[in-house]
């Protein structure tokens, strides 16, 4: 069967402004959108640029805007869309476009670095001593957050970063902070929580739930942010 893809194009060398190209691809219902994009590259126009990695939703390379929604191209199949009309492929919003579907993710990764505290690091050696003990319940506290694959979709869907406060630290970095704050093995978490309270930090989040809606790993991102907020209130600003 034939499906039409309308693809966002921008070449920084040649173009002042972006445009769209249309490609008709011979495909099947069960094919991944990523497969279709690769067919465009190998059979029609090899200059269409997009990132890809593992091809099954664990490396986080191929987050794109598909029909307006941030999604992983390797996790979505043709049948997930109304394939009788055009499927529109665009880069993630919020980030600046470098070429075609490729955006500059530096602002995304920089945000993760921002929440790093200056703890003394342990030596990298094999250890004689045994592992820390952690109960199944304690692990469950933060287990949802370890599913994050750093694809950047949540930041590209967040109404705060998009419309209100571009400097907002964003859901992914807050999720990463949550992963450490709620890990029973980590003791000095106050410093991290203080960092979260800085300008453009956790209090800028207004619980729009868009991050939760688009997360390709179905992480309840907003819920984790709310939990962190509660913990900050209880630990740093206790009502006496």
């Amino acid at each position: 069967m034939k499906v039409t893809f309308k693809v966002f194009r921008f070449d920084p060398i040649k173009d002042e402004k972006h445009h769209y190209d249309t490609f008709v691809v011979e495909t099947k219902l069960n094919e991944r959108i990523l497969d279709c994009l690769n067919k465009i590259r190998s059979k029609q126009d090899s200059s269409v640029s997009f990132r890809m990695g593992c091809s099954y939703g664990i490396c986080g390379s191929d987050a794109l805007t598909i029909n307006g929604v941030p999604s992983l191209a390797c996790q979505k199949l043709v049948k997930d869309y109304n394939y009788t009309s055009e499927i529109i492929i665009e880069p993630l919003k919020f980030y600046s476009v470098i070429k075609d579907l490729i955006v500059d993710l530096d602002p995304f990764f920089k945000r993760l670095e921002k929440l790093k505290t200056d703890e003394k690091r342990k030596p990298i050696n094999k250890l004689e001593k045994r592992e820390n003990i952690q109960s199944i319940e304690d692990l469950k506290q933060f287990e949802d957050a370890i599913k994050c694959i750093l694809c950047g979709s949540c930041v590209a869907a967040c109404p705060i970063t998009l419309e209100v406060e571009p400097e907002f630290i964003g859901p992914a970095a807050l999720l990463r902070a949550y992963r450490y704050i709620f890990d029973s093995r980590i003791k000095n978490i106050n410093e991290k929580m203080l960092l979260l309270e800085k300008a453009h930090g956790i209090w800028s989040c207004k619980s729009h739930y868009k991050c939760t809606l688009v997360c390709p790993k179905q992480i309840k991102v907003t819920k984790t942010i709310l939990k962190t907020k509660r913990k900050i209130r209880e630990d740093l600003h206790p009502k006496t």
């Binding site: 200059s47 593992c54 099954y56 664990i58 490396c59 390379s61 470098i98 045994r130 890990d183």
Partner: protein
């Protein structure tokens, strides 16, 4: 652009990051990766990491060592296998203390599960040795190490493609490549270079490996006139999703998954009566293809069923949630209700760049060292995995030998002065890029690549024979000719992936050729290398490692003995 560091690590998978972290304690180090490091294919590792912690039942490092050697069909170097097994528990402990969120048992210790070929008491019964974080083991280790690199401020050069090793004064002194963003040439001037470039599954049509596993480290090594070891030994994982090749982790069988043919028979009873579905991968891959070839595939098709229904929904969601979720996405099946169609998929390279146990690259059968050059991880061959790797033994190999490599590379860098770069190094990359962009040939990257993948899949799969391997070698020569007659349709400079794929294809062809030749020359069957024309293992002639070189005169193999200490070769039965 020229960057100067003491140690430069090519590859940001688990092997590369561990090496860099260790080296950073003593000297300046950076990591270079063609995809952002957190996208490295190590994130795909699902099932676990092997160590004889004994958290669930009695275990000993000697048993782990024995299983590794027997699993490798006695081609493993036993000094290396001993290091692996002995140091594994301490390394898993280190990972846990760095923050890896391992799954836990009711005592709060790291939970362990069974895995193929891992046994108690020298092969008696399966043992729980695989430590894991659900089926996200690789992802969680990578995330922990990535955060650790950020904390230690290790510079990461992401989306830089390396296409040349640099040597001067008889030693490796850096690498050159280009920024994928805009084709700017980049040179890394270093005292030591560590290759941690991963595998090459993409030379096959069906593989569990990601798009970046194109054997660049193998190509870089061969192009520098150096040798590769044991390239004929390629692991085909028994359970790739049929058609897609995406991996259904062995953990699915460890938790109770059963393989069935079209008669609903549990056929592994025939092939490995004692370990059954938990026999090593080479044995199960052959069993599945034998069933298919003898007409017992499902509906006459080239797959069998992996039946997970008896495990129970709750356990499935707890132990292998990712697997269950992508089976649902790609096949529209609930693994709890319907069996999953599977077939072998190209998975892992036991061979690679020969090293000693410090990660130093060896250049010949006398173990002469390539000064300043190290290799670690899947692209290296120490050799612990011999002719067939056991599940969960790769991740532990990355960590154990990553630590050792990081340590020795930093020591070397402290002790030695920097040698100067050869002249005009930036030009090397610039010229290579210009050459490809301006070339006006007739062959396309995609056409050659597809031909290569079909060729390897047809002629160099689980079952091989001399005639087909020889045909394939002829065919590779044709493909190489076509490669020299390449034309790119994209001649842009920003994120020109066709250009990158052209470089990768060069490495893939080199890698494939070295595999075919090594496989053609080894006239016996051992581990993952099965020759239908020589179906037996023959220790008197072939208990030795292959070294393959490729130069203008063509391909050449030499051999050197296996290091055997504790375990004399026995017939391999499970």
């Amino acid at each position: 652009m020229i960057y100067t560091y003491d140690v430069v690590v090519i590859g940001g998978g688990i092997a590369g990051l561990i090496t860099a972290l260790k080296a950073s304690e003593k000297c300046s180090v950076s990591v270079v990766s063609k995809i952002h490091v957190t996208r490295s294919h190590s994130v795909a590792a699902q099932g676990g990491i092997a160590a004889s912690l004994g958290n669930e039942e009695e275990d000993r490092w000697e048993w782990h060592m024995f299983d590794t050697v027997k699993g490798g069909d006695y081609l493993s170097d036993q000094n290396a296998a001993e290091i692996l097994a002995k140091e594994a528990p301490g390394c898993v402990s280190m990972l846990e203390h760095l923050g890896v969120p391992f799954s836990r048992n009711s005592n709060g210790k790291i939970q362990q599960r069974r895995f193929g070929g891992h046994t108690q008491n020298f092969g008696k019964v399966p043992v729980k040795r695989a430590c894991y974080a659900a089926d996200r083991t690789g992802r969680t280790i990578m995330d922990t190490l990535y955060d650790e690199c950020l904390m230690r401020k290790i510079p990461l050069h992401n989306e830089v493609f390396i296409n040349n090793l640099l040597f001067s004064e008889n030693q490796c002194c850096g690498v050159v490549g280009y920024d994928i963003r805009d084709c700017t040439p980049i040179v890394f001037h270093a005292k030591t270079v560590v290759l941690a470039t991963g595998g090459a599954g993409r030379i096959f049509k069906t593989t569990s490996n990601g798009y970046s596993s194109t054997g660049d480290g193998f190509g870089l090594t061969l192009n520098s006139g150096l040798v590769l070891q044991d390239m004929e030994f390629i692991q085909f994982h028994p359970t790739g999703i049929f058609g897609l090749g995406i991996l259904v982790s062995e953990a699915a069988r460890a938790e109770g998954g059963i393989l069935r043919n079209n008669k609903n028979e549990r056929f592994m009873m025939k092939y490995a009566p004692s370990l059954k579905e938990l026999a090593p991968r080479d044995i199960i891959a052959r069993a599945i293809l034998t069933e298919i070839n003898e007409g017992r595939g499902i509906n006459g098709e080239k797959y069998v069923f992996l039946d997970l229904r008896s495990i129970g929904k709750e356990t499935l969601l707890e132990k292998i949630p990712e697997v269950i979720s992508f089976i649902q996405t790609y096949l529209g099946i609930s693994a709890n209700e319907a069996p999953v169609p599977v077939a072998p998929t190209c998975h892992y390279f036991m061979g690679g760049i020969p090293t000693n146990t410090k990660g130093q690259v060896l250049v010949d059968k006398n173990h002469t060292i390539a000064r300043g050059l190290y290799a670690v991880g899947e692209c290296a061959c120490v050799s612990v995995h011999g002719a067939n790797r056991l599940g969960c033994n790769s991740l532990i190999d990355l960590v154990v030998f990553g630590l050792r490599t990081g340590k020795s590379a930093s020591r070397y860098s402290i002790k030695h002065n920097r040698v100067s770069l050869p002249v005009e190094t930036e030009k090397i990359s610039e010229n290579k890029i210009a050459f490809l962009l301006e070339k006006k040939g007739n062959s396309s990257v995609y056409n050659i690549r597809e031909n290569l993948q079909n060729l390897m899949t047809e002629k160099c799969n689980v079952f091989r024979d001399g005639q087909n391997l020889s045909l394939a070698l002829d065919k590779i020569c044709e493909l190489k000719k076509k490669y020299s007659d390449l034309v790119l349709n994209d001649n842009g400079t920003h994120f020109n992936y066709e250009l990158q794929e052209a470089f990768e294809l060069g490495n893939m062809l080199k890698t494939a050729e070295s595999i075919l030749y090594s496989a053609f020359k080894r006239k016996e069957s051992r581990g993952a290398h099965f020759r239908t024309d020589f179906p037996e293992r023959e220790d008197t002639k072939w208990l030795k490692h292959t070294l393959v070189a490729s130069n203008l005169q063509g391909l050449k193999v030499t051999y050197f003995p296996v290091k055997i200490s504790r375990f004399q070769p026995l017939k391999r039965k499970y």
